[in-house]
C-alpha cells in the first residue's frame, strides 16, 4: 500500500474568473473548460445558440416544435430557456399545448464547486399518458418526489400503471438521446464530466446503462442487489405488509425501487441517500450492479 497520500483540500481552478465572456476566450485555448456562469454572461442570442444544442431535435420533432425557433406550427413558443446573467444554472423546459406547467422535457444543469457540471434534474415524460399526483400529497403539499411527503394512494396507482418512484407520467424512453445531447454540449464547453445524484434505484440503474460510474454508493448498490436475492434480508422484508413490499418485487428493478421508496432499506441499516454518480465525457464506465434483472 502507498505510504504518502496527498489529498487535495480545494479543487484547482480551471476556468478564468472573468465577469464576462469575450469572443477572445472562444478563440483562445479550446481545451479550457467554460462554466455555465460564464456562458450565462453572454448576450441573449449567442447564449441561445449554445444552449439550443441541449434539446434533442428528435424530441422536438415528435411534438411538431421547430428546433431552431422553438415555436410550434401555430407560432406559439413551446420551449423556455432560463439562464440569467450571474446565475450558474441553466433550465430548459418544453411543453405540448398551451399549459406551460405540463412539461414533457425539463433539464437543469448547474456549475458545481469542483469545476464540473451537475445534472440537477432531467424529466422526459409523455404528456399524453395518465398523470399521477405523486408530486402532491393529500394536504396539497409538494412531496419532492416522495422524499419529504408521500401520497400513498397515488403512488400505488402509479406503481400499478408501471411508473417508477418520482414519476408522474410514463417516460418517453428518450434518455439515451438526451444524454448524447448533454455530452455534445459539454464537449463544446470543454468539460471533462458531469455529475448527478440518482433520485431512485430505477434512476441509478438507467444511469449505469448510460455509462455513469459511482463517486459514492457503488458498494451500497452491490449490497442492495445481494440482499434482494432469495434468502437476503431485503428479500425477507418483502412480506406484503404494504402494497410496495410485494413478495415478487425483488424480481424487477421497478419493484425493488418502490420497496426502497417505502423505506425497506431500514432493515439493513441503510437509507437511499448520498449516492453520487459521474459520467466521463466520451467514456462508458460499464457499471452493472443489477445484473440480469429486468426493469
Amino acid at each position: 500500500m502507498f505510504k504518502r497520500l496527498k489529498v487535495k483540500a480545494e479543487p484547482s481552478l480551471v476556468t478564468s474568473e472573468v465577469p464576462n465572456l469575450s469572443i477572445s476566450q472562444f478563440i483562445g485555448d479550446a481545451s479550457l473548460p467554460v462554466t455555465l456562469r460564464v456562458v450565462n454572461s453572454l448576450p441573449e442570442n449567442p447564449k441561445l445558440r449554445l444552449y439550443r444544442t441541449l434539446v434533442p431535435v428528435q424530441l422536438l420533432a415528435d411534438f411538431d416544435i421547430n428546433p431552431r425557433t422553438w415555436l410550434n406550427s401555430d407560432k406559439q413558443p413551446q420551449v423556455r430557456l432560463e439562464a440569467e446573467n450571474g446565475s450558474n444554472k441553466v433550465k430548459i423546459s418544453a411543453w405540448h399545448g398551451e399549459d406551460e406547467s405540463e412539461t414533457f422535457f425539463y433539464l437543469e444543469l448547474a456549475d458545481n464547486a469542483y469545476n464540473g457540471i451537475d445534472l440537477n434534474f432531467l424529466i422526459v415524460s409523455n404528456p399524453f399518458a395518465d398523470r399521477f399526483f405523486t408530486d402532491i400529497d393529500e394536504q396539497g403539499r409538494a412531496t419532492f418526489f416522495g422524499t419529504v411527503h408521500r401520497n400513498l394512494a397515488e403512488e400505488e396507482k402509479a406503481m400499478l400503471a408501471g411508473l417508477a418512484p418520482g414519476q408522474v407520467r410514463l417516460g418517453l424512453r428518450s434518455s439515451q438521446i438526451v444524454f448524447t445531447h448533454i455530452e455534445i454540449f459539454l464537449i463544446m464547453m470543454a468539460q471533462h464530466a458531469y455529475f448527478l445524484e440518482p433520485l431512485s434505484y430505477v434512476s441509478a440503474w438507467i444511469f449505469e446503462k448510460r455509462g455513469f460510474a459511482y463517486i459514492k454508493g457503488h458498494q451500497l448498490m452491490d449490497s442492495i442487489h445481494g440482499e434482494f436475492q432469495p434468502g437476503g434480508e431485503l428479500f425477507r422484508a418483502l412480506d406484503g405488509s404494504t402494497p410496495f413490499r410485494r413478495p415478487e418485487a425483488w424480481r424487477t428493478v421497478r419493484g425493488r425501487a418502490w420497496a426502497i421508496q417505502d423505506g425497506i432499506l431500514e432493515v439493513i441499516g441503510k437509507k437511499w441517500d448520498g449516492l453520487r454518480m459521474i459520467k466521463q465525457v466520451g467514456k462508458h464506465a460499464g457499471v452493472n450492479t443489477i445484473p440480469g434483472v429486468e426493469y
Binding site: 505510504k3 504518502r4 471533462h192 464530466a193 460510474a213 459514492k216 457503488h218 452491490d222 459521474i278
Partner: protein, 141 residues
C-alpha cells in the same frame, strides 16, 4: 485498433481478487509470460488497495474502473477512481535492506510499482483520478 478490456467494480477489498483474475485472463489471451502477469497483478493490487484504503476513505465507496490494453509490445493498464486524489511521487525510496524493526510501516506499494512497471503517469481532473502504467513484454518469435 488496440484491443481493450474493461471492468468496473466497487472500491472494496472484495474486488481485489476480481481485478487480479481480470488481469490474468486478459494477459493469457495474448500469451503474456507468467512473470510479466505477476508483475502487472502486483502493481494493480497495490494501486487498487491504495484507492480502497485511502482514496475513498470516509466515503461510501464508489467505483474503480480498471482497463487493460495491448499495444505493440506493451501492456497498458489504466485505473480510474473518483475518491480523494493523490500524487504518486516517490519522494524517498524505502530502505528494503534495513532490519524490519527499523523500517517505517507501509510505503512499499508505490516502490513496487515503480520497480516493476516501465512507465507511470497520474492525472487528477474533474473527471476523476487516473493512474496509468505500462509494462513492456518481449514479442514472441
Amino acid at each position: 485498433m488496440a484491443s481493450r478490456f474493461q471492468i468496473t467494480r466497487a472500491a472494496e477489498l472484495e474486488s481485489l481478487p476480481i481485478f487480479r483474475e481480470f488481469i490474468t485472463e486478459c494477459c493469457r489471451r495474448y500469451q503474456i509470460p507468467e512473470e510479466i502477469i505477476l508483475d502487472v497483478k502486483l502493481a494493480v493490487d497495490e494501486a487498487c488497495t491504495n484507492i480502497i484504503m485511502h482514496g475513498y476513505k470516509g466515503m461510501d465507496p464508489g467505483s474503480i474502473i480498471l482497463s487493460f490494453r495491448i499495444e505493440a509490445g506493451r501492456i497498458l493498464v489504466e485505473i480510474t477512481d473518483f475518491g480523494h486524489c493523490f500524487e504518486p511521487v516517490m519522494t524517498t525510496i524505502p530502505d528494503v535492506e534495513a532490519p524490519l524493526e527499523e523500517r517505517e510501516p507501509g510505503g512499499l506499494g508505490l516502490f513496487l510499482i515503480y520497480q516493476t512497471m516501465d512507465y507511470i503517469d497520474y492525472e487528477a481532473s474533474a473527471a476523476g483520478n487516473c493512474l496509468t502504467f505500462t509494462k513492456n513484454f518481449p514479442k514472441r518469435s
